[in-house]
């Protein structure tokens, strides 16, 4: 009986939290009309910089090596059948369709999303969020909207960057390890990768950006219990973002490719 009550309570809490997060997302989205206003412009530019420029180094390394690993593993198998020239299409299609947006999403959730949760969480426990509310400054406009715009805009751009570097990494391995020339690799890649792959990948990236912002901001704004609470909010934001990205990524793939 007691465990049933506890489970019921947890379900109600989950529904309450989900509702709260969605309300926050809708309200922040409605505030996007003010994105170029003088009150929001500066913060939006700052968030674009934090999300885009500050993540470039780690994305560069991860994307390059993901493409190299993918090319090496696939190429070694294909070589057994004398078909190593097909690593171009294998790498390009898997990077553009899945790995690009997925890897970018995980990196941004772990770096930018966790930073958002920690910053807003610290603001919540030090009463800065309460101070904004008392001053009638809506935290969803002041804090959430600029981050939402930054991640929704930067995620597709960063995904294109990840795609390019991932394919480039594959080309380097093809040339140096598998004896596939860059020209043959690129010819094979462009033959099989379609525009649809690119568009679906970018749609995923855009949706992942919205998911990361919603989860991180919601976890941050709901933080209680001091430094311990900030740590928990940060950890939860990363785990939840990862899980939702995986599930939503699968659903989008299923929607467009089956």
């Amino acid at each position: 009986m007691r465990s049933a009550q506890r489970t019921g309570g947890q379900v109600l809490q989950l529904l309450h939290d989900t509702g709260h997060a969605l309300f926050m997302l809708v309200e922040a989205t409605l505030f996007i009309r003010n994105v170029f206003g003088k009150r929001s412009r500066g913060e939006v530019i700052t968030q674009l910089f934090i999300t885009g420029i500050k993540s470039l180094a780690v994305i560069t390394v991860v994307a390059l090596f993901t493409g190299m690993i993918l090319a090496l593993q696939t190429g070694l198998e294909l070589r057994r059948y004398g078909q190593e020239v097909y690593i171009g299409s294998a790498v390009a299609v898997s990077v553009i369709r899945e790995m690009g947006p997925f890897m970018t999403g995980l990196i941004i959730a772990a770096s930018v999303g966790s930073a958002i949760a920690a910053q807003l969480g610290t603001m919540a426990v030090s009463e800065e969020i309460a101070a904004l509310e008392v001053m009638s400054i809506n935290p969803n406009r002041f804090l959430v909207m600029p981050r939402l715009v930054a991640l929704a805009v930067m995620m597709p751009i960063l995904t294109v960057y990840t795609n390019i570097l991932g394919i480039l990494g594959g080309a380097i391995v093809g040339e140096t390890q598998l004896g596939v020339s860059v020209q043959a690799y690129m010819d094979n890649a462009t033959e099989f990768a379609t525009n649809k792959d690119l568009y679906v990948g970018l749609l995923k990236a855009f949706i992942f950006g919205i998911i990361i912002t919603t989860v991180s901001c919601h976890q941050g704004l709901m933080t209680t219990e001091g430094a311990v609470g900030v740590g928990q909010a940060t950890r939860r934001s990363v785990i939840l973002s990862f899980l939702i990205i995986l599930i939503v990524g699968y659903m989008i793939t299923r929607l467009f490719y089956i």
């Binding site: 603001m123 101070a131 001053m135 002041f142």
Partner: protein, 254 residues
């Protein structure tokens, strides 16, 4: 001006506020004292609807605020300035930007007028040289003064002070007390102060209310408070070396 009518708030199964009623008059400096967990800060949060009562009414300037819509809530909060316990300054903004924040976000005041108003408040609170600094670069006392400057920049009718002297050295604490008294004298602002510090309460308060386990055990003038026969009040006074024989006038700023 502020009236609590049979207000009850239950948190985690405990009645943090247990059917309390009291009134704060215009121009008063009303001090709420009590042990940790007595319900002081919860009382303060109810006045600005950061928390909602489970039962009873809270009336501000004749209007029940329990069920206000968003617009009415904004109008209600515009009457208040709040100095939070940790000052609650935004860490990525300078002191100047923090103080200017409500003007920039909520009004269409021209930038040169904003600069003038902020400089005026910085001067009033002895922070003329700190405007360009970040909150992490100034002392706790200066942060509280900056928080107070932000609280008064929109010319509120009521200021709520949550533990204004906590964590400060005695000299800085008395300086903050002087500022609270000056707010009333110079600007005619009604103040509600939550504090543990009885020396501060006796020196600045026009009335002192003590909460204990969510109930009001005393609500009197400083003189009446120090002469209270309630055992909880006496124990609280004695814990800070203030006895019924003590002269509360010693602490008074008046």
């Amino acid at each position: 001006m502020i009236r609590f009518e049979n207000v009850t708030k239950v948190l985690g199964g405990n009645a943090v506020l247990d059917n309390i009623s009291f009134e704060v008059g215009e121009g008063e400096t009303f001090v709420i004292v009590g042990l940790s967990g007595a319900g002081k800060s919860v009382t303060l949060k109810h006045m600005i609807r950061l928390m909602q009562a489970d039962a009873g009414n809270i009336v501000i300037e004749g209007e029940i605020i329990n069920d206000l819509g968003r617009k009415a809530l904004r109008e209600l909060r515009a009457k208040f300035g709040v100095l939070f316990q940790g000052a609650a300054l935004l860490q990525w903004m300078t002191v100047h930007e923090n103080i200017a924040l409500p003007l920039r976000e909520l009004t269409h005041t021209p930038e040169d007028e904003i600069l003038r108003l902020v400089d005026e408040k910085l001067e009033l609170l002895g922070l003329a040289d700190a405007g360009a600094k970040y909150p992490s670069d100034i002392s706790g006392g200066m942060q509280k003064r900056a928080g107070l400057a932000r609280a008064i920049i929109m010319s509120p009718k009521i200021i709520l002070y949550d533990e204004p002297t906590s964590g400060l050295d005695p000299v800085t604490s008395r300086r903050i007390d002087d500022l609270i008294v000056n707010m009333r004298k110079k600007l005619g602002i009604t103040s509600v102060v939550v504090t543990h510090d009885l020396h501060s309460a006796l020196s600045i308060g026009s009335r002192i209310m003590m909460l204990h386990h969510g109930k009001i055990v005393e609500n009197a003038t400083p003189e009446g408070f120090i002469r209270s026969k309630d055992a909880t009040v006496q124990s609280f006074l004695e814990s800070q070396y203030i006895t019924r024989k003590g002269k509360w006038e010693e602490f008074s700023h008046e």
